[in-house]
C-alpha cells in the first residue's frame, strides 16, 4: 500500500537520531496536506523506546546485511520506495541525504532539493526553502511534479512534533535479492576515536576555524587555550586540512558540545558546525565578516581580526 510521504529514519549505534523525529513531525504535516498517509522506514529493527507513532506505517526490511554500504542501502531503499510509492521522501542531509538522495531521486525520475530548511504545501505545490552558499542565501523552489526527495538540514524543524508514541502498521519488505546483487559489501564499523582530548566535558572551549589560515597559526589560539586551561576545539575545515586531529572537531560529524562558554575564532558558522555547538550557554564569536552566520547564534560578537584579539586575550589571561 502506498503512502504520500515517506521518512527515511536514521540511527547511529542503534539510537534513532533527533533529526528523524524532526522529519516525522514535518512529514505528518505534509501528509495531512496531501490527505494521505505517512510512512517511515528504518534500516534495522526499531527498539521498544523508538517513537514512530507519528507514522501510519513503519516499513522494515528483511534480508538486509549488517553495516553500512552505500550500494546496498541504495538498492534496499529503492525496494522500499517502489513498494511505498511516496510523493515526497524526507531524508536528513546526513549520511543518507548526501550519499543516497541524489541517486534515489535520479533512479525514480524525481526532483531533489538539498539543504532544505522549510517545506510547506501551497495550493497543491510543495514550496521548499533551502540554504545555499553556506547560509548566505536562501532559495525558494516550487515543486509540482512528484516524486520529490527533500534532503533536510538537521535542526530545521521541531523534533517534539514527531516524537509520538503509538503503534504504526508494520510492513516488512524483502530486500535480500536486491542487496545480494549490489556492487559492494560492508566491511566494518569504526567507533569514534576517543583518545586524547575530551572536548565534550569542558565548561570552557576555545575553538578555531578556517579563518586561522594555516597550521602554523593554530599555535596562536592553542596558546590562548592553554592560558585559559581550556581544550582547543575546531570546525571542520581545520580538521580536514590536518591542522588538528579528529577528536578536536565540533559539529555534525565531530562532537556535540555544550560548554558554559564557547569561544569561536575565525568560524563562519556553517550549519554542520552550528549543529554541534549551538547549545552552549554563552557563545562569543570573533569573525571579520559581520554577516557571518555564526553571529546569528552567538550571544556576543566582534569583527576584530583574531590575530589582533587573540594575543591580547592571552596576555590579559596570563597577566
Amino acid at each position: 500500500m502506498s503512502v504520500d510521504v515517506l521518512v527515511i529514519a536514521e540511527a547511529v549505534a542503534g539510537e534513532v537520531l533527533d533529526v528523524t523525529y524532526e522529519l516525522l513531525g514535518k512529514g505528518r504535516e505534509l501528509s495531512d496536506g496531501f490527505s494521505g498517509e505517512l510512512g517511515a522506514v528504518l534500516i534495522g529493527e526499531p527498539s521498544p523506546q523508538d517513537l514512530f507513532g507519528a507514522a501510519d506505517v513503519l516499513y522494515s526490511m528483511s534480508g538486509m546485511e549488517a553495516g553500512y554500504c552505500a550500494p546496498q542501502w541504495e538498492m534496499a531503499l529503492g525496494e522500499v520506495l517502489r513498494s511505498a510509492d511516496p510523493k515526497v521522501v524526507l531524508v536528513s542531509t546526513g549520511t543518507v541525504g548526501i550519499d543516497l538522495a541524489g541517486a534515489l531521486a535520479t533512479q525514480f525520475g524525481g526532483v531533489l532539493a538539498s539543504y532544505v530548511i522549510d517545506a510547506v504545501m501551497e495550493e497543491g505545490s510543495l514550496v521548499v526553502t533551502s540554504q545555499l552558499y553556506g547560509g548566505k542565501l536562501l532559495s525558494e523552489v516550487e515543486i509540482d511534479s512528484f516524486p520529490a526527495v527533500l534532503s533536510v538540514l538537521p535542526g530545521s524543524f521541531v523534533s517534539d512534533a514527531g516524537r509520538v508514541a503509538g503503534e504504526p502498521r508494520r510492513e516488512v519488505i524483502d530486500v535480500g535479492g536486491s542487496v545480494s546483487s549490489a556492487k559492494g559489501v560492508a566491511i566494518e564499523l569504526r567507533e569514534p576515536d576517543s583518545s586524547g582530548v575530551d572536548i565534550t566535558a569542558a565548561p570552557l572551549l576555545v575553538s578555531v576555524g578556517r579563518g586561522i589560515g594555516s597550521k602554523e597559526n593554530v599555535e596562536l589560539v592553542a596558546e590562548l587555550a592553554e592560558a585559559m586551561k581550556a581544550p582547543l576545539s575546531a570546525s571542520r575545515p581545520v580538521i580536514d586540512q590536518g591542522w588538528l586531529p579528529k577528536p578536536h572537531q565540533v559539529g555534525k560529524s565531530g562532537k556535540k558540545v555544550k560548554p558554559t562558554v564557547y569561544l569561536a575564532f575565525g568560524i563562519s558558522g556553517a550549519p554542520e558546525h552550528l549543529e554541534g555547538m549551538r547549545s552552549a550557554d554563552v557563545i562569543i564569536a570573533c569573525n571579520t565578516d559581520a554577516k557571518a552566520p555564526i553571529f546569528e547564534v552567538a550571544h556576543y560578537g566582534t569583527t576584530l581580526d583574531l590575530f589582533d584579539l587573540v594575543p591580547e586575550l592571552t596576555d590579559q589571561v596570563g597577566g
Binding site: L104, Y133, S139, E140, E188, L204, V261, I284, G301
Partner: protein, 256 residues
Amino acid sequence: MRIVVAMRQLADLVEELEVSDDGTDIDREFVKFISNEWDEAALEEALTLKDELGATVTVVALDEPDVDQTLYAALAKGADRVVKLTGHDPDTWVRSRERAQRLASFLTGESFDLVLTGVQAADDLDGQLAGILGSLLELPHAAVVVGVEGSDSKVRVTQELGGGLLGVSELDLPAVLGIQAAKQAPRYAPISRIRQAMQTGEIGEHEVELSDSAVQVKVRRLYPPESTGAGATMLKGSPKEVAAEIIEIIKSKGLV
C-alpha cells in the same frame, strides 16, 4: 588505475553575493570564482593514489569562469591530462543535475576505474554530484568519503556516518566517490610551476550536447536570510578593550 577527477568553479564565499535582477541566481558579473574546496580534496586523493599505485589522473571540468586556472594548477600538481567540457553557457548556474548529465556524457566515452569529486558544493540545490553521477552511470558510489584504498578490481572506502562513526566498505570498480577529506591537505602548486604548465600543458576540449533537459526543481527566488533579531551583542572598541570585556564575561561564569 585510471582516475578521473571532476572539478568545478564556485563563487568565493568570502565575497558579498548579490542576487541577479531576475532574482533566481547570483549576480555572476563581479563575483570571484574559485575551485570548489572539496574538489581540491578529491584531486589530492587522486594524486596520492597515483603516487601509491601509479595511476593516471584526468581532471575534467565544465567551462566556467577562471576554470583554466584550476585546470593548469591541476597539471602543475601532477595531473596527467585536463579536459574542459563546453556546449553550455559558462556564465550561468549549471545545476548539479545538469552538471552530472554533462559529466556522464563525457565519461561514457572514457575508460576509467574511479571517478572522484568533492562531496558537495555550496550551490548543490539539486543534490550532491557523486550520487547523481553514479546513478546516471549505473555505477556503485559513495559520498562523505575520508579514506580510499585501491586495488585492481575493488576500492575500499571509509565514510563518515555521523557522530564520529566510520563505515568501511568495499565497492566494485569502476565506482564514483564524493570526497570529504583526502589523506593529507591539498598540495600547493607554486606560481612558477603553474606558469610552466600554462606554457607546456594543454587543456583538451570536449563539447557536450544534451538531448534531454535535466529534471530539477524550479527556483522561484534567491534571497538573503533575514536576521532573526536574536543575533549577537557586538563588542566594540580596541582589541585590548574587547579582550577585557570577553574575559569579564568568562569570569562572570566562574571560569578562568
